[in-house]
Symmetry: none
Subunit: 203 residues, 4 copies
DNA sequence: CATGAATGAGCGTTCATTCAT
DNA sequence: GATGAATGAACGCTCATTCAT
């Protein structure tokens, strides 16, 4: 991608938009959607309340943007990481590692996605839920392939995919809420083992 | 004193309280806490707004009542069911079966607990989260015992307990959101197998 | 007046009405009109909320009744006491002494009349104000007579009557609010002297 | 930053604040505290309900502001006027003349202070009562001094101060309520004479 | 374009009054 | 007549959104 030389104004505007998004994520992670007041958000972003509406149609649209950004960030990283491996097992493993690492790195994102998602406006919830669904879908594709290849026994891969994702989800939630396990990334191997056994992976 | 609180009156009142609770659960399941307006709730329950306050101190207290009710319902059923079995494996299995059956029976309860829990007033969120934590705690106790008895290999039982609960959680969420798997109860065996393998249960 | 033999029921009802009036006065003196809730009033009077409306049309009417009762009590006592004396000076003196003694005896009544009167529904305020006006009117009649008799010099008796009543009013208010002077009745002589001098009473 | 708080804007805001205060005083004088509804007040002030809260924290704080304003206005005028005279008699006279003139000029203020004061929120009542107490206190100081100087005979100056203030209070109240005396300021001399005689001022 | 004061619909809650029992 | 649960209008207040500057 070739960068078009943006003039100062355009840069400033992008910067403003980003500061709004950043403030939005922060508040979404800490307080939940309803607690966000545009006045408070604007203050945090260093702008006037009215300015917010120059960048986002309304409160809902801001949160939609946050969701879209999160979706892209997660799926892009997964795509990128998967491309580095050849075997489906490795690809599957890479997918989950990306999630764990991303969430470990960006707690905020994790809180929004795994904890705050509901209780938000219908449309936003829909978007956030979609991220989760997409992850299960990707895992299911992998499992179907592994089954076809005879690397795992025949099974209801929808259930298995849910189970697979669910184990990670629950551990991450525990880590977010209670700080246990202390080191999320270290738990990855343990969890992966649990799931591979669960899938009945042939040695 | 002529006015007597007759059985009929008392029955009517209990009925009213229940209709408020029912309306509350319904709205909580469908819309989330913040979207509940007392006016709307009262309309749904077929009462005047003021009447609500004869039965509940305020909005928060209603949701607390719902949470408490759910907590008791779930934990009581688990306790009862566990008492029927002797082996830890059977007890563990019974615990999860209770959950699956209860949620299959009371979709609303499942939605509130698994989907809407956050984004609710701090105190309520705390209560709902506690239900989940309690479940993980109970499973962990079982796993610790199984490990001691040498029925499963040495492992980080916190991770395993999370994983265990997480698989059920995710499948139930999928069922709630997308209707798949169609028959939740039938998936139980599959899911149990996945987890027993994951735990490394000795044959 | 010959007492008609009332049956038990009628007695009970009068008793009830009185207990409502008593509770009303108490609350009016302590809290002011707006703070009176019918529920609280009923509780204090030992009746059910609905019962209140069997005895009084509404909240306003209760307070009107209280005002009427107070008016009669004060004016009747004044009339009675005045009748015991021949000279106008003595009658005037007797009028004020009645007020001071009554207020000293029934602090509640004083609080309602001198402190809480306004801020009450228009009509009630009107009634309470009338008590005060009546007192000034009575004093003015006395002063006019004294002037005619040449016992006090020529003067604007409206002003003098207001001044006369005002001195008592202010001292009583001070006593109600701050407890000073400690003994209201002892201050009567002092105050009377102040006013007689003020009126220019010939020795 | 393009938006600048220009003088014009600031003037507009001060004007708005004043119109709220004016509406508040008007309603307070006519209806009493409890009858003020923010919606009604806003309507009278020509603003939206929400706008009120940009200028005052809440209803109580508005009335506090009104009280504070009144207190300062009265006490300041008294201080100023007293400073123009040397003898205590003149100072005392000046104090009361200020009151009479101020109340004659600002009927509203008089109504709030002398008629509506009670029945208002505890804190406000406290403030308004304090104005009255302060006046009595000031008068008492003067009387104590006059007594020390031998210009008036020995007496209970608390009672005398109350009496003194009470005469003015009652006349002003009569003027407010009934329009009599028609000309308040003309009555001042009469009233002053009454009190000086009452105090036993030596010729 | 940026601002933040202004808006007013909508919230949770109270309470004088009604009415079925 | 007595009861107290039920009613719903009205309250003080908040906050997403608009718009004059």
């Amino acid at each position: 991608m070739v960068y078009r030389k943006t003039d100062k104004v355009e840069a400033k505007q992008q910067q403003r938009k980003n500061s709004i998004l950043r403030a939005g994520k922060e508040m979404l992670a800490e307080e939940g959607y309803q607690k966000i007041s545009i006045k408070g958000l604007a203050e945090k972003a260093g702008i006037a309340t009215g300015t917010f509406y120059l960048y986002f149609t309304n409160k809902d649209k801001l949160v939609e943007s946050i969701a879209d950004e999160m979706y892209e960030q997660l799926i892009d990283e997964i795509r990128l990481e998967r491309s580095k491996y050849a075997s489906v097992f490795e690809k599957l493993q890479a997918s989950m590692l990306v999630c764990v690492n991303l969430f470990a790195r960006e707690k905020q994102l994790a809180k929004i996605l795994l904890i705050q998602a509901p209780g938000i406006s219908k449309i936003l919830n829909f978007k956030l839920v979609n991220i989760e669904k997409e992850l299960v879908r990707l895992v299911k594709i992998d499992l179907d392939e592994l089954m076809e290849q005879g690397l795992i026994p025949g099974q209801d891969t929808l259930i298995s995919a849910c189970a697979f994702v669910g184990t990670f989800r629950q551990v991450i939630i525990s880590w977010l809420r209670e700080g246990r396990p202390q080191n999320l990334e270290k738990s990855f191997e343990t969890l992966l083992g649990y799931n591979l056994r669960g899938l009945g992976k042939h040695d």
